[in-house]
Amino acid sequence: MATQLAVTHYSQPWHQRVLELLGHILKYFVLIVLAVSFLLPFYWMVSSAVKDDAQVYVVPPIWFPNPQFWENFWNAWNSETFNLWTFNTVVRYAIPATVGVVLSSSLVAYSFSRIEWKGRNALFAVVLATMMIPDWVRLVPLFVIFRKLGWINTFNPLVVPQFFGSAFFIFLLRQFFMALPLELSDAARIDGASELRIFLRVILPLSKAALAVVGLFTFMNAWNDYLGPLIYINQEHKWVLTLGVGRLRGAVYEIGNTKLAYPWLMAVSSLITLPVFLAFFFAQRSFIEGISLTGLKG
């Protein structure tokens, strides 16, 4: 680093070089302080998960619990029906939602990017405009409709709308499809391929990365969703993880509670963060590129 500095700025007077060095030191100082303060909450979460009650209510706080109670993870997880709630979250919500969003949004994005038709751009402007409509405006009537359909306490209100495209992901995929050369479609058309065939056989295989981003984001949104299940699902055996964790929180405030509320709460929090962490760790590029893609034409 230092040699590089010296080479590129050899013509500068010495005091400027000192200033720049100081700037570098300051920069790394800020970076490290920030990084630590970003990580600290997570470290606090995991380290508190292996404490017992006595280690929680201690001044100063214990950052390196000793002894560690690793069984907290097991006990906390089994203190409620978290297995069932995980099943509900993944199989009954996240997976169908992901399938729905990927299928419908890619189909619609194809129409808005690779078929030339009258009124297309006007309608796409409407797609973008819908992103400004607050969900809260639709919530009451949707609740009324779903209630009439007998869908309260089912996953339909959370899953079915996903099969009708999501403005944000239509936008994201459209950006991606537009960047693919038009000659690809033209060549297939000359060969007599139908539009659906071009979509399925030419465009989709080339868009695996973008589709993965959409799938990943949708899955994570479902995994993290709290408001949707809060409104539509009241029966405990149909809860999702986020609602179940919320219930442990109630235990914290029970007087005379001996269930090790905070360590267990932190243990379960760590466990439901773990899949998010792993997904991020292995698919970091997808996350970052997916988000930058939506910002490009902002």
Partner: protein
């Protein structure tokens, strides 16, 4: 639509493409009609009614809206929400911008630091809430225990109405990963030649920052700010899980009040009126930002 009619009838190829285009877009078109346009419209209707889900809606005209004028609850949550939007959005965008600037400068381990700054943005909100409660709690929160052990007074971060909103602002600034990544992508697109030319002309780092970086990313500042305003007006999950709007209703934001009216008290008419006021507020805010932004935002390639 009129323009559309005039340009038809067109060639059969155009017709074919039109039908194909509509067919491919039909999931969204149907969804838009059923899950957006109809609900937004019927919310407007409900907002002129008294409706408790059990009995049919009763038309009461503009009563729901008029009642807001001397509803202390409405004023409280509207005030809290305006405070939240005006304070948290600019600070959140600033936080994202500064993090992106740091990451864009010549540093080692860039992607490592980027991951750390980004991660809080994708953690489940439930987890964010619990971890921060456990950090900020007055008795056994990590921060207050540390302060106490060093002989300082404890700070009621989330148990004092004066501090609660500020604590939420800090958490908000901590989870700006998405906006940061968008800034970073934009910063990397700023032509290096601009900086080189400025350096040759003797511009120092601060000037380069103010006269090159800020104008070049100003459209993205606007973009992030608008996104942040829109979601700020709808802020719900974090304050709901942390304190259900407390302490002393200091974090009772508009959406929390709306949720209570709709799903705890089943005042669907009033909730719909609240929702429509929110909608209009968001439209108004967005319009005003775009109207006034012309002076501050630089679009490369646009005639000025």
């Amino acid at each position: 639509m009129i323009a559309l009619r005039r340009s038809f009838p067109a060639t059969s190829r155009e017709w074919r493409n039109f039908l194909l285009g509509v067919a491919f877009a039909s999931p969204w078109i149907i969804g838009f009609l059923g899950f957006t346009l109809y609900p937004v419209g019927s919310a407007l209707y409900y907002s002129f009614t008294r409706y408790d889900l059990v009995r049919d809606p009763v038309w009461i005209g503009v009563q729901n809206y008029v009642a807001f004028a001397d509803d202390p609850d409405f004023k409280l949550v509207a005030g809290n929400t305006l405070w939240w939007v005006l304070i948290s959005s600019p600070l959140g965008v600033l936080s994202a911008f500064l993090m992106a600037l740091l990451l864009n400068s010549r540093i080692i381990l860039r992607s490592f630091f980027r991951s750390i700054f980004f991660f809080p943005a994708i953690v489940p909100v439930v987890v964010t809430a619990f971890v921060w409660i456990f950090l900020l709690n007055i008795q056994y929160g990590a921060i207050n225990s540390t302060l106490q052990s060093m002989g300082f007074k404890t700070i009621p971060f989330i148990s004092s109405p004066d501090l609660m909103k500020w604590s939420l602002v800090v958490i908000h600034m901590w989870s700006q990963g998405a906006a940061m990544v968008i800034f970073l992508a934009t910063l990397q697109d700023v032509p290096k030649s601009l900086y080189e030319a400025a350096t040759v002309d003797g511009a120092n780092a601060l000037r380069r920052m103010w006269n090159i970086t800020v104008p070049m990313v100003s459209p993205i500042i606007l973009f992030n700010l608008v996104i942040s305003f829109i979601s700020g007006f709808q802020y719900f999950t974090l304050p709901w899980i942390m304190t259900q709007g407390g302490p002393s209703r200091s974090a009772e934001f508009y959406a929390i009040y709306l949720y209570r009216n709709a799903f705890q008290w089943f005042r669907m008419g009033k909730a719909s009126a609240l929702a429509w006021v929110l909608f209009v507020l968001i439209l108004l805010f967005t319009y005003l930002i775009f109207r006034t932004s012309g002076r501050f935002v630089y679009y490369a390639g646009a005639a000025r």
